[in-house]
Assembly symmetry: C2
Homo-oligomer: 249 residues x 2
């Protein structure tokens, strides 16, 4: 094993964990994944990591911190399209798309592992099953997108916020970053507004309602779930769209 493989092995830990929830990943595949990381770098909060339309030649794997994909409208309105937790291969799709149609930005200080597209090509060609697992994880992003469309289209502001906080709870649990009671979510209410298509003021009122109803507290970057059952019902949250079971075969 080459030494730089060792150096970056921890970079893929949470990704591996996430993949293993859904499928069997061999040790060889795990090593191939770790070996494909060329570099790990840190960035400050509020930085744009990938800009829409610019050709990219490597994929970003989030190791630590929180990033989002977003688009802006001409009048300055922002919409967050997805929130990413450690272990997410944020722009895996840039491998085939070559450029992204949206931006990727850090919401906190982050550590990012880079995987060059050449390494992606090599690893997917040498490991067809791993390639399918990576394909799968882009399909998971699409499934999350669809649930968000449902939220934005048909859920009330309260349910929308409850839903996104449920989703993140589960996704954080998968990568071992949540306890039974809650998780760390270093977002501002304005960020949450951009993610839910609401205004910060309204987000504030809905959070107050969730607090007053004793469902959940979101304060100082921490989510504490008080009543998971009622929260789930309020959000009409069902984790089926996160495909948390092992695929057949």
């Amino acid at each position: 094993m080459k030494s730089d493989t060792l150096i970056h092995a921890d970079a893929t830990d949470r990704l591996v964990r996430k993949l293993r929830v859904r499928d069997l990943l061999s040790d060889e595949e795990e090593r191939a994944l770790a070996a494909s990381v060329s570099e790990v770098r840190t960035f400050g909060p509020g930085e744009t990591l990938v800009r829409a339309g610019v050709a990219v030649s490597e994929c970003n794997l989030l190791v630590e911190g929180m990033v989002c994909r977003y688009k802006d409208l001409a009048d300055g309105q922002r919409q967050i399209l997805e929130l990413h937790v450690p272990g997410d291969f944020v722009d895996l799709h840039s491998f085939l798309l070559k450029r992204l149609e949206h931006n990727i930005g850090s919401l906190t200080p982050v550590r990012i592992a880079f995987v060059p597209h050449e390494a992606m090509k090599r690893v997917t060609e040498e490991h067809p099953h791993l390639a399918r697992m990576l394909w799968f994880s882009t399909l998971l992003d699409a499934a999350i997108h669809r649930e968000w469309i449902l939220s934005m289209g048909r859920r009330t502001a309260l349910a929308r916020i409850a839903h996104i906080l449920c989703e993140l709870f589960v996704r954080m649990q998968v990568v071992g970053l949540a306890t039974e009671r809650g998780y760390s979510l270093p977002l501002t209410q304005a960020d949450l507004a951009d993610a839910t298509g609401l205004t910060p003021v309204h987000v504030n009122r809905m959070l107050k309602k969730l607090r007053d109803d004793d469902l959940l507290t979101f304060r100082g970057g921490d989510v504490v779930v008080h009543d998971w059952e009622r929260l789930r019902r309020t959000a009409e949250f069902s984790p089926a769209y996160l495909f948390l079971e092992r695929r057949p075969r």
Copy 2:
């Protein structure tokens, strides 16, 4: 060439057309695609083709007509997640997901080509480049989802409707089903409401406004574009997210 390959060759025509807009597809790959179709069947309008949560063993390729993916909320509200035009490999993702988390339903009479998952596995393993193109087309769906999230989150009702009609115009053009002036869109205003997260009544008013402003007419299942430039601006539509250029290499 086997005769059943010949029988179903037309089934993949529009898909091939769509793929060739984005990448080079060899004749051999085209034949492999056509050969993977096991059967072509017709369905009436309003049928559920794939139900959420049920294990599936084949992919649906839309040959003719219009289908949508949708989810329902407990109170009966429906959200359409994506509209599909001929040539769309509607549930290509079922190949890896094994079950879908949403439903697929026909909006019109449709012709569907079936591709068994075994055939998918064979063709993707034997043709890695074709596999990447299919992966790519699932990424395209995700990009469309993201644009919808932006629409639902931040665009006004008028812009949202204008935008979806712009998108379908371009997508219909790609598969040769639109003229310079417009295209056939066999949806009711209620369908359009379910796709945009609005009420039918409000959709009606916004369509009237688009008509009154002389941007576009949607009547009797036909979209006629009167002023593309102003329509584009109203929707803030830019086709970048549809990746209409050839990928590099």
